[in-house]
Symmetry: C2
Subunit: 114 residues, 2 copies
Amino acid sequence: MEKTDAVAALAALAQDNRLDVFRLLVQAGPDGMPAGAIAEALDLAPNTLTFHFDRLRTAGLVTVRRDGRSMIYAAQFETMNDLLGFLTENCCGGAPCAPAAACKPARKRAKMPA
Amino acid sequence: MEKTDAVAALAALAQDNRLDVFRLLVQAGPDGMPAGAIAEALDLAPNTLTFHFDRLRTAGLVTVRRDGRSMIYAAQFETMNDLLGFLTENCCGGAPCAPAAACKPARKRAKMPA
DNA sequence: TCCATATTTCAACGAATATTGAAATACTGA
DNA sequence: TCAGTATTTCAATATTCGTTGAAATATGGA
């Protein structure tokens, strides 16, 4: 991960509502949640939410897909893990450190067609 | 870790120069580095650097101690690890996920006097 | 086609942020 | 005490950010 990407991801997460959204999606897992459900869960205006989704998406932290009238947002776990790795990179100059991190969602729970 | 603290830490890291400073300190390990050395390494004006140190310190990401005329800044690994944990908390709703993270500096490398 | 639902786009506003330059403070050694 | 080094404080400025309100777009069903 490049520094630019890391700053973008950190900036995207460095805001109350966006952090809430992202954590909700992390907990929701790879299947994601429709925008409306998130708006209700967090009590946010739909346009405000769109604004925040855009930032998260630009930072590569979430993805969207359409399902009927709903937009389904899902966390991008790979980016999150890259970010965690970037922060701890070469910790203590390579000295004895328990490194790394990872939240690896159980590789697609067979919800998507083929 | 509280959400407020997480946002503060993320905001502190979400800036080019501060991210550089923090990573430099993470790599420097628990002994830290004098402000002057950091200023030189990253080519930053001393007053600008002070401003950024303040933010990192307020967020609990670094500590300072004086050593003669120098101020020695060091990364606060515990806060970093708490932050990583907070982001991955209850990942995928508790489903099969390799959780957590940690960069645990080898508990003081006996550089400080007794 | 017409209506309702779900979400996005656009313009505007106040608040917060990063950098700068000049001056102040704290410590060291002569 | 005096000069010099290391770092911090203060005020000013331009830029970016988050929220709101009104209007637009896209989808699904009658």
